[in-house]
């Protein structure tokens, strides 16, 4: 009851005209920032951080600056789906799963339906998460504390288990793609050993090549290739994602469409949009799975919204009566990841506010914003700063409603993009890919890598190599490896820490159940298709 009263007050504060106005502006800015591949919510929030001083001077309400930043974050989460659906480029790792079915829907001329589904699923996911958030924040943050290194690794394993359904029918090519993505994630600086690794063509290799061609002793004045600049920061997610989708897939489409001028016959009409809203009832299942699963994965620090959206897509597909329709433009396949990534993004605010640790890069920047505003997120935040916390939570409800309305209102504009002649749209997409990659990492090396990956992806695409698993593996790879090695460091190289509840971690003889249960579920999920396949073979022989 106390919570309800506090929440009502919070919502009322968030609905005051100045805060409502900020939420609307923030959502619109976020929507466009999120829709541009590369810029994304991280940059949107980081860039507009200093702007909050202007807001504070104008309103003198302690909650206003954060309401504005949170609205940008929210808007960007909605916006991510827009570039996934209309351009086919996931602007953020959380929106990769949205391309799987959103893009086919757009190509079939149902872009409006895909956008509406994404918007409404996002709204439901965000609202479900906000309700959980306001009701059970302290309890949920204690759950998050129980997830240490082995638990997070087991969770990553569970996310990988859902990969199995994502590739094509060609098993070795899917495997190659997963391994390759995971390996790309290891390039660069290794946190645990404190050393660089897989720095391609480093000074040692350059010298070796020069000596091989007979330039011995010239090592001092070699034509210096800056391997540190190229690889020390590692291979970032967007470099691969924009390369694969913005360049590779685009070249493939140009080749496939052969001089045809328009891409799709997209009609824009009010009645079609209304029909799409009513059609949401077909996607209730994906929405439900996404809203709940997304939130619980999202509150776990270090996991973030990407495994949440991916696992929701996987689960929706696994439990579907017609799994073959996924990837061909099934609205459930848009609803599940979109509900999940909004739900998880709200969830990711929870460890940030109650534990002071960000679950994603964007919440990290929001955290920096809170610090600048003299707030120290931590376990006592709810008790110490209620005048700030509750209006912010209240603004989640408001921002959600604002975001879905703004998003629906802007759909005709985004559809208009699809009606551009393809010979104008294609160079615009290339340009956005280049400028977006640069904006994301401030680095020309990454832009070059992005284009090389794109051309390589096009060649592999012709040969039916599925590349979505590689793109997702790059996101999850860093965390997975780090948690695996931290756990094995703890256990002196003993894998029992993952599968046995009786492994003694701290010399006190405690039992740990979360990691083993998660690991076993993941192992069963990975093995299940193989067992079923083997049983089918045996039965066929008998």
């Amino acid at each position: 009851m106390e919570i309800l009263a506090a929440l009502t007050d919070g919502i009322l504060i968030a609905m005051q005209p100045h805060n409502l106005g900020l939420a609307v502006i923030g959502v619109i800015v976020g929507l466009f920032v999120g829709a541009l591949p590369g810029l994304g919510s991280v940059n949107g929030v980081a860039i507009l951080l200093p702007f909050t001083f202007v807001i504070n001077e104008a309103t003198s309400d302690p909650a206003s600056p954060m309401i504005f930043l949170a609205a940008i974050y929210y808007g960007a989460m909605y916006g991510g789906a827009i570039s996934s659906i209309t351009l086919g480029i996931p602007g953020a790792s959380t929106a990769v799963a949205t391309t799987f079915d959103g893009r086919p829907m757009a190509l079939q001329g149902n872009a409006d339906r895909a956008l509406v589904t994404a918007a409404i699923a996002s709204f439901i996911g965000g609202t479900v998460a906000t309700v959980f958030f306001s009701g059970f924040a302290p309890f949920l943050s204690s759950v998050a504390l129980d997830f240490g290194n082995p638990e997070i690794f087991a969770l990553m394993l569970l996310a990988f288990a859902t990969f199995i359904g994502l590739g094509g029918d060609d098993i070795p090519k899917t495997m190659f793609s997963i391994f390759f993505g995971l390996l790309l994630a290891t390039v660069g600086f290794d946190t645990i050993s404190g050393e660089p690794r897989l720095i391609f063509f480093n000074d040692r290799e350059q010298t070796a090549v020069l000596e091989a061609v007979g330039m011995t002793g010239a090592a001092e004045n070699v034509p210096y290739f800056d391997s540190i600049g190229w690889f020390s920061r590692g291979i970032q997610f967007l470099v691969l994602a924009i390369g694969v989708y913005g360049i590779g897939e685009m070249i493939w489409t140009i080749n496939a469409s052969r001089y045809k001028l328009t891409m799709t016959e997209t009609k824009i009409s009010f009645s079609r949009i209304m029909k799409a809203i009513v059609g949401m009832k077909d996607a209730w299942k994906g929405t439900t799975i996404g809203s709940f699963l997304g939130f619980f994965v999202g509150i776990l620090p270090a996991a973030g919204a990407t495994p949440g959206s991916l696992m929701s897509y996987g689960v929706a597909k696994m439990t579907s009566r017609n799994p073959k329709s996924y990837g061909q433009g099934n609205p459930d396949g848009v609803a599940a990841p979109e509900a999940a990534n909004n739900s998880a993004s709200t969830g990711a605010m929870l460890p940030m506010m109650t534990l002071g640790i960000p679950g994603s890069p964007t919440t990290a920047v929001l955290l920096a914003g809170m610090v600048i505003w003299g707030l120290e997120p931590g376990p006592r935040m709810f008790e110490d700063r209620p005048e700030f916390v509750w209006p912010l939570i209240g603004s989640f409800y408001i921002s959600n409603i604002v975001a879905v309305l703004v998003n629906l209102a802007f759909i005709p504009l985004f559809l208009w993009v699809l009606r551009m002649p393809f010979t104008i749209l294609a160079p615009v997409i290339f340009v956005l890919s280049v400028i977006g990659t640069y904006a994301a990492y401030d680095n020309m090396y990454d832009v070059w890598l992005m284009v090389f990956f794109g051309i390589g992806a096009y060649l592999l695409r012709i040969l039916d190599y599925p590349l979505a698993p590689a793109v997702l593996a790059v996101v999850l790879g860093t965390t997975a490896e780090q948690k695996l090695r931290q756990s094995l460091l703890l256990s002196d190289g003993d894998f029992a820490i993952f599968y046995s509840p009786f492994f003694d971690r701290d010399g006190k003889g405690q039992e740990w159940w979360i990691a083993p249960i998660t690991t076993w579920v993941a192992v069963i999920l990975i093995l299940l298709p193989i067992i079923l396949w083997a049983m089918k073979k045996i039965r066929a022989k008998a």
């Binding site: 946190t191 640790i357 914003g369 997120p377 010399g507």
Partner: protein
């Protein structure tokens, strides 16, 4: 070819006129590239964005200051980028102790850290030893006894390998004959959370990182690695007070440096700019709230301070075997 030559000559001429005007009094003519030697959201990033916000809010600079994160290779990327910028007068960087340790550990970088322009040291961050309250430890002697009884099952979490946290842990192991296992994490926040969740047994977080859990009573400070007690934790002794034979303190610098080759006029301009940031109420409040120490040190004094720190870190890293 001829065209290129003409262009290059024009370029050189333009560069010269710019240099000539700069000799009088430096005023930035384009957005300042403000490099952060760490990823988004970390301690250094928070501080850098606070500095940027203070500059923007008080309108201390006539052009925007644009933060860019270059976190690769524990600062290697940032250092090598800064050594190669084409306009050193508009490139500054926020640094931490990896400014000393990274060039020492990665000689292949060919970076000379004394070539960077000393602009200003904004603060020195402090380190405190923390344990979970359920361990029932409150003094350093109890800590030593408990760690010894646990053998190699006592785990210390920290940010990065051979980093500040690792150096302190190595020191504890060596000076007191302990066998603490050190697990590197990506950021201080994750360490603090795992300590509160009893996934690790101790940490040497900065006060700013552990403050939330200290206030909620989950974690307890044991000793501070400073020369005097921290005003925020008056009951927590320094290591030198808690242990008779100890003579150890360790700090993390939070400094702003200019790219190698920055003109003296530009360096003077940025020193003045950051002196104003340092003096601002926001910065002073932040410094007190987060238990930061250290006065504003600039120019030659800062270079002297670096020389001392570099020598100091070389000794420490050699002793621990991280470098040869």
């Amino acid at each position: 070819m001829k065209l290129m030559k003409t262009l290059a000559l024009t370029g050189a001429a333009l560069g010269m006129t710019v240099a000539a005007t700069a000799a009088q009094a430096f005023e930035p003519s384009k957005p300042i590239d403000f490099v952060i030697m760490a990823g988004k959201g970390g301690g250094a990033d928070k501080m850098a964005r606070l500095m940027q916000s203070i500059v923007e809010k008080n309108e201390l600079a006539s052009v925007p200051m644009v933060p860019t994160n270059k976190s690769g290779g524990s600062g290697a990327e940032a250092l090598s980028y800064m050594s190669k910028v084409n306009d050193p007068d508009h490139s500054i960087m926020v640094t931490l102790n990896s400014f000393y340790t990274t060039p020492l550990r990665q000689p292949g970088l060919k970076v000379d850290n004394m070539a960077f322009a000393p602009i200003g040291r904004m603060a020195e961050d402090t380190f405190v030893l923390w344990v979970h309250k359920d361990e029932g430890i409150s003094t350093f002697d109890e800590f030593l006894a408990e760690v010894k009884s646990r053998g190699n099952k006592w785990v210390m979490g920290g940010t990065g390998k051979n980093s500040e946290d690792n150096i302190i842990t190595d020191h504890l192991n060596e000076a007191y004959g302990l066998d603490i296992k050190y697990i590197p994490y990506k950021g201080g926040g994750a360490v603090a959370k795992d300590l509160a969740g009893k996934q690790i047994q101790s940490s040497v977080n900065n006060p700013s990182e552990a403050l939330g859990f200290y206030e909620s009573g989950d974690v307890v400070p044991i000793v501070a690695f400073t020369n005097e007690r921290l005003p925020m934790f008056p009951d927590t002794p320094t290591l030198n007070e808690a242990s008779d034979e100890a003579d150890f303190s360790y700090f993390m610098q939070r400094s702003v440096v200019g790219a190698p080759g920055m003109s003296h006029e530009a360096a003077a301009y940025y020193t003045e700019l950051f002196r104003n940031v340092y003096k601002s109420d926001e910065w002073q409040k932040y410094k007190n709230d987060k238990s930061l120490m250290g006065d504003f040190v600039s120019q030659l004094d800062l270079a002297d301070y670096w020389a001392g720190q570099i020598a100091n870190h070389e000794t420490i890293l050699k002793a621990s075997g991280a470098i040869k």
